[in-house]
């Protein structure tokens, strides 16, 4: 086509004049196409080269990605703590101990360590070419992390180096290399329908095709940076076109594009074009005038849109035109803009998303929350934040490995998304913490409904690597208060509520209310006080008698801990044991109570003949019970107190005994082997599985006070208690009724055949000296004797 030169005139004028010429030109085009298409060949070449270049760009992008990954790798590796000292002492075995497993794991093709003078200390994998390595090593020794690519005999090599820092500055350098070999490149070529060849200094190193003619031509070509033109001509005979890009100092990557595919497409087009061109030419004449006008408009709009893009609006697109040349221009501009937009979007995406789950990260979440809060403030709507923390996730990582943990997190993220509306934002804050933003809520009900849905969906087990994993989560929900516009505040509230949910037994949700904040602070204070209380000896042991319902004598004494808080006064176990359990402080406290009680019991046994066989019972918390050295510790305590093991009764709750059955069973057996007595505390509040109870080596059950309280009410309640006692007797277990407060309760428990009783009816828990007075007063319980003959006869 004749070139258009426009000097200082209006395009419009030219276009109007050119309409007849355009029509003429189209006829010429038709003639040319029919004649045999010189144009097609040229077009085919252009297309081939374009495709070759696109593939090369793709390969290079992969290499660049690999380079960045390599730089990160090498820096992480260099941070291994054992490396620098081993390097300073030239301890090759020590170096190998750290690096050999890492190299195998990461699949790096080579890994080399250099000392301070650039001397090779240790190399792993395929040898690294000195010429490629030298500049990287000297850069690393001067403190830089660098990467480079080159061609070597195995393929496209990507290497990175970094300094190794010791206590006295840079101690050496580490170089790692990875190779994109024939298989890696083949992956690209198979997808693109293009073959690749690698040259080094004019020598063919690798080629993805197996076609013998092609391989011979390539290996004889001696292709260097120059001479591509000649090479292309010789390729044409084999039906291929080529594009090339230099790699490193002496390498060349060549993409070979088969002409056949391109040609076929062109042929098809030519046949259709021939048929259509006649029609088109006629249409052009009729429509020429309008086309001309459109052309001018389009060029103007292209200019405006392009200007807009240059100013940074990459999402702006140029309007397509019905005229091919203009349309090509428009689509080229659009493609450019699209690439820029995609790249920018990718960068932005990476900065604001979690790489593992692809969910928004903390930054993006906070930003969205801020906007949502501002919007809600204007519209007087509610915004809720859910803080979700997986229960016992650490256990998954510890037992199944981080890889499994990561896979599980991805699955959980996917499942969470299915529980939410499209407009809700779900983010991964860190580790196993997720946050969810719910907007446009009428009230808190919308949020709790969503939380219910999440908890329910999580109940379906996750299948990871052939293992079914059951996950639960604790969720905290916070709804914004009017004028509350700080995202951080709302997040903190949800966090506090989540902790509350954890504290209340996990696997459910809690909605934040301001009292939680106060409680959280109070809890923190209490925890500090609790730590101090151990040092200051603020704990006291109280003793409550357990009375035989047959003889009326004190047969046991239960040791109960109280805390004499300097400001709050005497605190009962319920007020601080859960916290002590959670913080682990229960271990020293529990041990202290046991020691104190055992010594006291021994003293009473010696002092009062009537109490010679007195049994002291003490509670074991779940945390104490799970302590691996529990049996040894208790043996030590008994030993130092001089108390017979059979004089100690340890009480654990049903749920503690049921948790991880096999482990519990082992612990209980170890305790039983010592000779101590074992009792299940608060019996009837947990699972109450008698078949399981039968397997446990226990001596007694303490029936929960709630059963005793209900005596005299519903006959059904009484039947349950009666059943428990009957079954316990069949299992030869001693039964102790807790919380006896009235004559009637005593009467009923006694008539059911319960062995022992405990409660305010007999005595509240007493300080040591008060109980001592009771023991001194006499062995039998006066009140009981009064009761039994009259009521039970």
């Amino acid at each position: 086509m004749p070139a258009l030169r426009i000097r200082g005139g209006s395009l419009g004028l030219f276009v109007y004049l050119l309409v007849p010429m355009v029509a003429l030109a189209s006829f010429v085009t038709v003639a040319l196409i029919i004649a045999g298409s010189l144009l097609d060949d040229r077009e085919a070449h252009v297309l081939m080269e374009q495709q070759g270049e696109i593939v090369l760009e793709g390969v290079l992008a992969r290499v660049q990605e690999r380079r960045r990954a390599e730089e990160v790798f090498v820096q992480l590796l260099a941070a291994e703590r054992e490396l620098a000292p081993a390097l300073e002492t030239a301890d090759k075995v020590g170096l190998a101990q750290v690096l050999v497993p890492l190299r195998a794991r990461l699949g790096l093709s080579s890994m080399v360590l250099y000392d301070r003078n650039g001397q090779e200390m240790l190399y792993l994998g395929s040898p690294v070419e000195n010429r490629a390595a030298a500049p990287l090593v000297s850069a690393a020794l001067s403190g830089l992390t660098q990467s480079a690519m080159s061609v070597n005999d195995d393929g496209l090599a990507v290497s990175a180096s970094t300094p190794l820092k010791g206590s006295r500055g840079i101690q050496g350098a580490m170089l790692v290399g990875a190779i994109l070999n024939r298989e890696d490149l083949k992956e690209v070529t198979e997808k693109e329908g293009v073959e690749l060849a690698l040259f080094k200094n004019g020598r063919l190193v690798m080629v993805t095709t197996e076609q013998p003619d092609m391989v011979r031509l390539l290996s004889e070509s001696g292709l260097g940076r120059e001479g591509l033109g000649d090479f292309k001509r010789s390729l044409e005979s084999l039906g291929f076109g080529a594009a090339a890009t230099p790699i490193g100092d002496d390498g060349l990557l060549v993409a070979l594009v088969s002409m056949r595919e391109v040609e076929m497409a062109i042929r098809q087009r030519a046949i259709l074009m021939t048929g259509l061109s006649v029609t088109l030419s006629a249409i052009l004449l009729v429509a020429g005038f309008r086309v001309g006008r459109n052309t001018v408009r389009h060029v103007k709009s292209v200019a405006i849109a392009t200007g807009d893009m240059v100013r940074g609006n990459y999402s702006r697109r140029v309007a397509r035109s019905q005229i091919k040349e203009l349309d090509d221009l428009a689509s080229a501009i659009n493609e450019l803009a699209q690439q820029l937009e995609v790249q920018l979007a990718e960068l932005a995406h990476r900065a604001f998303h979690d790489t593992l789950t692809n969910l928004p990260n903390r930054a993006l979440f906070t930003d969205r929350l801020a906007h949502a809060l501002a919007r809600a403030g204007r519209r007087k709507e509610s915004v809720a934040v859910m803080f979700l923390d997986l229960d016992n996730f650490k256990f998954i990582n510890d037992s199944l490995g981080h890889q499994t943990g990561d896979k599980l997190l991805v699955m959980i993220a996917e499942r969470l998304q299915t529980c939410l509306r499209g407009e809700d934002t779900i983010a991964r804050l860190s580790g196993d913490e997720f946050t969810i933003l719910l907007e446009d809520l009428a009230d808190v009900g919308g949020a709790t409904h969503a939380a219910d849905r999440i908890l329910e969906k999580l109940r379906i087990p996750f299948a990871v690597d052939g293992t079914e994993i059951y996950m639960t989560a604790s969720i905290g929900i916070a709804v914004n208060a009017p004028h509350q516009e700080q995202p951080a505040d709302l997040l903190r509230c949800a966090d506090i509520a989540m902790y509350r949910a954890k504290g209340n037994g996990k696997a459910h949700y809690e909605v934040y209310d301001p009292s939680m904040q106060a409680r959280a602070i109070e809890r923190l204070e209490l925890e500090t006080d609790l730590r101090r209380a151990i040092e200051r000896g603020e704990f006291k042991v109280y003793y409550q008698p357990v009375v035989s319902l047959v003889t009326g004598e004190i047969s046991e004494v239960e040791a109960l801990v109280r805390w004499e808080h300097p400001r709050r006064g005497l605190l009962s176990p319920q007020e601080f044991i859960p916290l002590a359990e959670e913080t682990g402080l229960i271990l020293p406290i529990g041990k202290w109570v046991l020691e104190k009680a055992c010594h006291q019991a021994r003293k009473w046994q010696e002092q009062y003949p009537s109490a010679a066989s007195l049994v002291i019972s003490a509670n074991l918390s779940a945390r104490q019970f799970q302590h691996p050295m529990l049996a040894e510790e208790i043996a030590g305590i008994l030993d130092s107190a001089g108390l017979a093991a059979s004089s100690l009764e340890l009480e654990i709750t049903e749920s503690t005994a049921m948790e991880s059955c096999d482990e519990s069973l082992r612990t209980l057996r170890a305790l039983k082997d010592l000779g101590v007595m074992l009792a299940i505390d608060d019996f009837g509040t947990g699972y109450s599985s008698f078949s399981y109870l039968n397997r446990l080596p226990i001596d007694a059950i303490k029936i929960d006070r709630s059963f005793v309280e209900r005596l005299g009410g519903e006959p059904r309640d009484e039947a349950i208690m009666n059943g428990i006692i009957t079954l316990a007797k069949m299992l030869r277990l001693v039964t102790i009724a807790e919380g006896i407060e009235t004559d009637e309760q005593l009467d009923r428990t006694q008539s059911m055949g319960c062995d022992m009783g405990q409660g305010y009816y007999f005595s509240r828990p007493l300080a040591a000296d008060a109980l001592e007075a009771l023991l001194a007063a006499g062995p039998s319980w006066q009140l009981l004797h009064d009761v039994i003959p009259t009521e039970a006869s």
Partner: protein, 281 residues
């Protein structure tokens, strides 16, 4: 008229050209959906590559058969998967435990895999005696000079304590002595093979079959007390250091799985085994 012709134009220009997508990067490629009746296989990392080879051979005879290999577990995990129904075939490198055996599972031995000592080339030795193994892992033989090579430390490779190759071969060879050498501990059988292939001056022990399957030109397999490990010496019983691989399936195995197990135990399976230095049960 005009818009219709434009439509034709658009059609013409949108004719298919060779695809031009370069490096499309999906962040989360969805898990490939296996064919409906694919046999789901997992198990010991040492034994799985052999089963893949057997599966390839099987598919040449039965192109309709499909397999799905799941990595990242071990013998015990795979048996558990079998019981739970998430797997169809477990590949184990030890017999079933008493606790596993009562779940309606069928266990069949199908291969012996020699555990061979090996060095990275050009190590100076072609064989080790049992005494030398004890000295190397006991920590008294530490330099290649002591074995006739140049003076440089022997990099001794070892596996985790629980690994079958260690429990069933190295420890019996050490005869009650403990490992005192400063060893390099590798987490998987593949890591061991890669470390042997890529660590100059290294000496270690690993599955002979895996060495062959992974093609390791830089590794020399050593004779032990004069016996060269291989299909022949294994079958004869003159090389007694090996692991026994088994295939485990549920009683209700599909016909295609049954036919695969029969194939693995049959003559063609045996050929595949011997090609890589394994012996039959």
């Amino acid at each position: 008229m005009l818009w219709r012709s434009m439509l034709l134009l658009a059609l013409v220009f949108s004719l298919p050209l060779p695809s031009c997508t370069a490096g499309e990067g999906k962040l989360f490629p969805g898990a490939a959906q296996p064919a409906e009746s694919a046999i789901r296989v997992s198990g010991s990392g040492t034994a799985l590559p052999l089963v893949k080879k057997l599966a390839d051979a099987f598919r040449r005879q039965h192109p309709e058969a499909a397999f799905e290999f799941l990595a990242g577990t071990n013998s015990g995990g795979a048996v558990q998967g079998l019981v739970m129904g998430t797997l169809d075939l477990a590949v184990v490198n030890r017999p079933l435990l008493a606790t596993e055996a009562d779940g309606g599972l069928v266990y069949r031995e199908f291969a012996r895999d020699a555990i061979a000592f090996a060095v990275n080339l050009p190590g100076p030795i072609y064989g080790l005696s049992r005494d030398q193994v004890q000295e190397v892992y006991g920590g008294s033989l530490v330099d290649w000079k002591q074995l006739g090579g140049e003076s440089t430390p022997i990099l001794v490779l070892d596996r985790d304590e629980d690994e079958s190759a260690r429990k069933l071969v190295l420890l019996p060879l050490l005869d009650g002595r403990s490992v005192k050498a400063r060893t390099i501990v590798l987490a998987t059988a593949d890591d061991m093979v890669m470390a042997l292939e890529g660590t100059p001056n290294a000496l270690g022990y690993t599955s002979l079959g895996l060495l062959r399957i992974r093609k390791t030109p830089r590794v020399r397999v050593l004779a032990l007390d004069g016996e060269v490990p291989g299909a022949h010496t294994l079958a004869q019983g003159s090389y007694p250091w090996y692991l026994t691989f088994g295939l485990v399936n549920r009683l209700d195995a599909s016909p295609s799985l049954r036919s695969f197990v029969d194939f693995a135990l049959g003559p063609t399976g045996r050929q595949v085994l011997e090609e890589y230095g394994y012996a039959g049960p």
